[in-house]
Symmetry: C2
Subunit: 220 residues, 2 copies
């Protein structure tokens, strides 16, 4: 397998091309850092976009919803999907409105979606999604009941084509704007887990596991 | 105008309906709190989703990109758009994989897109977008040059239909799972502006404005 996704009309980044990357390592890194994916489908000729929990296993993205959720039915019906994962890293305060922008990490992936139906395949897919969002947690929990698995809809999207865009910079002002007495710089925007909050039902003496404690304070 | 969006096949929330809201106040509140919108379009019969900066003016969403960006050309060509804004508020660690979930605020809006072409309209739209992402900043900057306005693509989407979904809860475990010695609760996920970082070109004595300072430490 090539280290890069092939560049086609579909995944080619047309704007600000110097920010584009097509290598699998960069694409996978952003997919692994995100927490919610935006999945787009076509329904009756019209676009629909839905936020979903997800996980990655090689070149397969697993997306998770209720079995009867519209997104699951749509994916089943249409097959084609476009998925975007974006992390917002800050606002770039340039000295003109035109040069002002945002810092971000973003991946857009295109692929064919299929419903995951076999219980064993579904278990695997859900383990991948759980491990992505809540690393180490799955091993602390009982096995899923068969009816729970049946009530859960899982879609697998094989990534056929993808691109990443990363912007991580200070303002890029025109020389003629630099004389103005206007402040320029960046205001970082962080998405970070804070501190675990127990519910009222935790049995006495039960503490969060090391895996859960390790998530506190971490940044996406 | 009604205080609620009409419920139709398109915007009806089918899963976990108790989390759904159709009132304009809730929908507008989430749109105003977000920073990036995911806009979906159809291109050659296939879905495309793109993250975009945006702003809201009444029932109009303005989305911003380069004039030649795919998303702008697509919107111009197809007209129909679906836009989602999602804020991720935390992970819900239940005592089963099935009951584990996420806390979030999310809006999905459907509407017809049109290209904003007149320079005066574009100025207004860009002011709305700027005020949304960087409140108070536009007034500190010089007026946009006409060529800058021409190089900027702006799309307006009139919201025809929308729904909100909010999940803000502790685990909702089955009774039979409560005896297990497994910790349950929530790990909040915050998206927060940190501290302004000046670039190397700030003139001596120039400090960030009160408007910029006011953004430091604020949470989406």
């Amino acid at each position: 397998m090539s280290n890069e996704y092939e560049i086609s009309e579909r995944n080619k980044v047309r704007q600000v091309r110097e920010k584009a990357a097509y290598d699998r390592k960069t694409v996978h890194g952003i997919l692994d850092a995100g927490i919610v994916a935006h999945a787009a489908f076509v329904q009756d000729g019209e676009p629909v976009v839905v936020p979903m929990l997800y996980g990655r296993d090689g070149e397969t993205l697993y997306l998770h919803g209720a079995r009867k959720a519209r997104v699951i039915r749509l994916l089943e019906a249409t097959g084609r999907a476009c998925i975007n994962v974006t992390l917002t890293d800050g606002l770039v305060f340039a000295r003109s409105a035109f040069a002002s922008s945002m810092n971000y990490r973003s991946v857009t992936a295109f692929g064919t979606a299929r419903l995951v139906e076999q219980l064993e395949d579904k278990k695997h897919a859900l383990a991948v999604i759980s491990e992505h969002a809540m690393p180490g947690r799955r091993a602390e929990l009982r096995d899923s009941h068969e009816n729970e698995l049946r009530m859960t809809g899982v879609v697998a999207v094989e990534i056929e084509s993808a691109s990443a865009k990363i912007s991580d910079k200070m303002p890029d002002d025109e020389d003629c704007d630099l004389d103005t007495p206007v402040w320029g710089g960046v205001l970082p925007l962080e998405t970070r887990f804070t501190t675990l909050q127990a519910d009222d039902l935790v049995s006495e003496g039960v503490e969060p596991s090391a895996a859960l404690k390790a998530m506190e304070g971490t940044k996406l």
